[in-house]
C-alpha cells in the first residue's frame, strides 16, 4: 500500500461511539478512494497537550494530508503552521480551528443543535418548570457550546423554564447516572434533563429508570443504547449529528485538496432531532449509528 495516499486523522477522542462513528465514516471514504487512514485521539477532551503530542508524531510520519479536530485551536497553531510549511494540507473536522490554515472544516453547529434540544424540551414539558443539564465536559468546546446553546435558548425564549442545575460527569455513564439521581432527589419537581453527549444522555436515562422517575429526557448523539432508549420511550428524543458524514467528508476533502480541488470554507454536516416517530425515516436512519 506504498502508493496509497496516507492521511492521519487526529480527533478529540477515541473510545466514544461518536468518534468511532467518525472513524467508520473515514474508513468508508478511505476504502472508496483508496487511501490509508489512521485515527487517533486523547482519552479525555481536556488533554490538550496529549493531542499536541499526537499531532507532532503524525507530522513526523510525513503523511500526505492531516485531518484535525482541535481540542483547543490556539494551542495547535504552531504545529499546524509547521504542517502547512511542510506543504501538508489540513482539513479541520468536528469543530473549527481559529486559523486560516485548514482548507475547510467539516462540522456540526453545536450551539444551534443544543438550542434545538431546548426547543424540544420546552415543547414536551409544556413551556414551564424546572430542567437540568448533565454534560460531559466543563471546558471543552463541545461541552461549552452545547450547555450554552441549551441554557441561553431557554433564557431567551422560555422565561417560565428555569435551568436549576448544570453538572458534568465526564461523559462517564456511571458517574452521569449518579449525578442524575442526585439532581432528581434534590429537585423532586424537576420536569426534564438534557444529556449533552452520548455517555451523559445514557447516564441520565439510567438514573431516571433507577429512580422510576417520569421526567422528560432529551439526549445527544446516537449509538445502539440511546436508540433503544428513544425507541422504548425512556428518552423522549435526541439530537444526532452526522458523525459518519463528518469522517467521510473529512477524508474526501483531504483527497480533494491533494488533487487540487477547490473546497468550501465549511462543510456543514448537519444535525437532526429524532424520536420514536421518525427514527425509521430514511433520512434520519442514515445518520444514526450503533
Amino acid at each position: 500500500a506504498q502508493d496509497q495516499v496516507d492521511i492521519a486523522l487526529i480527533s478529540k477522542g477515541f473510545q466514544h461511539q461518536f468518534w468511532q462513528a467518525v472513524k467508520a465514516g473515514a474508513d468508508k471514504a478511505a476504502a472508496e478512494f483508496g487511501a490509508n487512514v489512521t485515527f487517533e485521539g486523547p482519552e479525555s477532551e481536556s488533554q490538550v497537550d496529549r493531542q499536541m503530542d499526537m499531532l507532532a508524531a503524525a507530522l513526523s510520519r510525513q503523511p500526505d494530508a492531516i485531518g484535525f479536530a482541535a481540542l483547543d485551536s490556539q494551542a495547535a497553531v504552531p504545529l499546524l503552521q509547521q504542517a502547512s510549511d511542510a506543504g501538508i494540507p489540513i482539513v479541520a473536522f468536528d469543530s473549527g480551528v481559529d486559523s486560516d490554515i485548514p482548507l475547510t472544516t467539516a462540522t456540526t453547529d453545536n450551539v444551534a443543535a443544543a438550542a434545538l434540544a431546548a426547543d424540544k424540551m420546552a415543547e414536551l414539558i409544556g413551556g414551564e418548570g424546572k430542567v437540568a443539564v448533565v454534560a460531559h465536559d466543563q471546558t471543552s468546546r463541545t461541552g461549552i457550546d452545547r450547555v450554552d446553546g441549551f441554557v441561553n435558548r431557554m433564557k431567551e425564549a422560555y422565561p417560565n423554564i428555569e435551568v436549576v442545575s448544570v453538572q458534568y460527569g465526564g461523559g462517564d455513564q456511571l458517574q452521569s447516572t449518579e449525578i442524575t439521581k442526585s439532581i432528581l432527589l434534590a429537585n423532586p419537581d424537576l420536569k426534564g434533563i438534557f444529556g449533552a453527549n452520548e455517555g451523559s444522555a445514557i447516564g441520565v436515562a439510567n438514573g431516571k429508570t433507577e429512580l422510576g422517575s417520569e421526567i422528560v429526557v432529551i439526549g445527544f448523539d446516537s449509538g445502539a443504547a440511546q436508540k433503544g432508549m428513544v425507541e422504548s420511550g425512556v428518552m423522549a428524543g435526541a439530537i444526532t449529528q452526522n458523525p459518519v458524514g463528518i469522517g467521510y467528508e473529512t477524508v474526501k476533502a483531504a483527497i480533494g485538496a491533494l488533487n487540487g480541488e477547490e473546497l468550501p470554507e465549511v462543510i456543514d454536516t448537519g444535525f437532526y432531532y429524532y424520536d420514536a416517530t421518525n427514527m425509521t425515516d430514511p433520512e434520519i436512519a442514515a445518520v444514526l449509528y450503533d
Partner: protein, 331 residues
C-alpha cells in the same frame, strides 16, 4: 519476668477496641448529620438507596484493593480489569449467546486469571507491584477495546442480567425496603473478604506479608504462592465488580474504568488501611467508600457548583483522615 498485661489493662484494651470501632464511623456520621440538616432531601429512603447503589462498584473494587494493600502491594489495575471482566461477560452472553451463569462464571474467572498473572509477575519476576499492575491496567484497557471492537456490548438478549445489580430480592420479600441486589452483593463480598482475612490461612499470610515479608520467608512459608493467591482473589473480586457495573449499565462499556483505581485506593486509605501494609480492615474500607459516596451525593443534593464540589471533597478527605488520626492519638 514480670507480666505487663495486668487484668485491668486488658479490659481497658477491650473496651477501647469497641469504642474505637464505633468512633471510626464518626467522620461518616458527621457528614450524614451535616447533609441531613442542610437538605431535607438527603435522608430520604430513596436517596439512601441511591448512595448505597453508588457505593457498590467502588466498594467492591476497594475491597479488592484492600487485600492487595494489606500485603504491602498496590493494585492499579482494578478499574480496567473490572471493565475487562464486564467485556468478557458481554462476549460470553451476547456474542456467544451462552446462558447467564456461564457469563457470571466467565467474568469472575477472567478476573482471577488476570489477578493470578499480575501476582505471578510480582512474586516470581520481582517486578514492583506498582509497575506490574500499571502495566496490567494498560493491557486490560487495550484488550477491553480490542475484544469488544471498541463498542459497548449490550445485554439485551439476557433479560435477567440487569437484575444482578438493579433487581431487589429484599424488596420482593419486604416491599417497603427495595434494597438493590448490587448493595447486597457489596455486603456479601465484604463479609467474604472479612472472613478470609480474619479466619483463613490466606488472610493470615496477607497480613504477615505486609508486616515483614522477609520474616515470613525465613519462617519457611511459600511466600510466592500466597502472594499470587491474594492477587488472584483480588482479581476475582474485580470480576464481581465487572458484573455489577455491566448489569447496572446493561452493557459492557469498554472505555470506562481508568481512574476508578484512584477512588478505590482512596476508600482504602480513608478507611485506615496503611499503604505500607500489614494492617487494615474491610469494615474501614466500606466506611471509606461510603464517605466518598456520601460526600459526592450530599454536595450534589445541595447543588454546590461542581468546581467547588471538587475543592470541598479534597478538604473533607484530608479532614476526615486527620480527625481519625486525632482520635487514635487520644485513645
Amino acid at each position: 519476668m514480670t507480666d505487663t498485661t495486668a487484668p485491668g489493662q486488658k479490659t481497658g484494651i477491650r473496651i477501647s477496641g469497641a469504642f474505637h470501632r464505633l468512633l471510626a464511623f464518626s467522620g461518616l456520621i458527621a457528614l450524614v448529620v451535616v447533609f441531613s440538616l442542610a437538605s431535607p432531601n438527603f435522608m430520604q429512603t430513596q436517596n439512601i438507596l441511591a448512595i448505597l447503589q453508588a457505593t457498590s462498584v467502588n466498594g467492591v473494587l476497594a475491597i479488592a484493593a484492600t487485600l492487595v494493600i494489606i500485603t504491602g502491594g498496590i493494585d492499579l489495575s482494578v478499574g480496567t480489569l473490572m471493565t475487562f471482566c464486564a467485556v468478557i461477560a458481554g462476549v460470553i452472553l451476547t456474542y456467544w449467546g451462552l446462558p447467564l451463569p456461564l457469563g457470571v462464571i466467565g467474568a469472575i474467572l477472567a478476573g482471577t486469571v488476570v489477578g493470578f498473572t499480575s501476582g505471578t509477575i510480582i512474586a516470581k519476576l520481582k517486578v514492583p507491584p506498582f509497575i506490574a499492575t500499571l502495566g496490567m491496567m494498560l493491557i486490560m484497557k487495550g484488550l477491553s477495546l480490542v475484544i469488544s471492537g471498541t463498542r459497548p456490548i449490550y445485554f439485551n438478549d439476557t433479560p435477567g442480567f440487569t437484575q444482578i445489580s438493579l433487581g431487589s430480592m429484599v424488596g420482593s420479600v419486604i416491599p417497603g425496603l427495595p434494597i438493590p441486589n448490587g448493595v447486597l452483593i457489596l455486603f456479601a463480598v465484604a463479609l467474604l473478604a472479612a472472613f478470609i482475612l480474619g479466619k483463613t490461612a490466606l488472610g493470615r499470610y496477607t497480613f504477615a506479608l505486609g508486616s515483614n515479608e522477609e520474616a515470613v520467608r525465613l519462617s519457611g512459608v511459600n511466600v510466592d504462592r500466597w502472594k499470587i493467591a491474594v492477587y488472584a482473589l483480588a482479581g476475582s473480586i474485580c470480576g464481581v465488580a465487572g458484573l455489577l457495573i455491566a448489569s447496572r449499565l446493561n452493557s459492557a462499556q469498554p472505555a470506562l474504568g481508568q481512574g476508578y483505581e484512584l477512588d478505590a485506593i482512596a476508600a482504602v486509605v480513608i478507611g485506615g488501611t496503611s499503604l505500607s501494609g500489614g494492617r487494615g480492615t474491610v469494615l474501614g474500607t466500606l466506611i471509606g467508600a461510603l464517605i466518598i459516596s456520601v460526600l459526592a451525593n450530599g454536595l450534589r443534593i445541595l447543588s454546590v457548583a461542581q468546581e467547588w464540589q471538587t475543592v470541598v471533597t479534597g478538604c473533607i478527605i484530608i479532614l476526615a483522615v486527620y480527625a481519625d488520626i486525632l482520635r487514635r492519638r487520644k485513645l
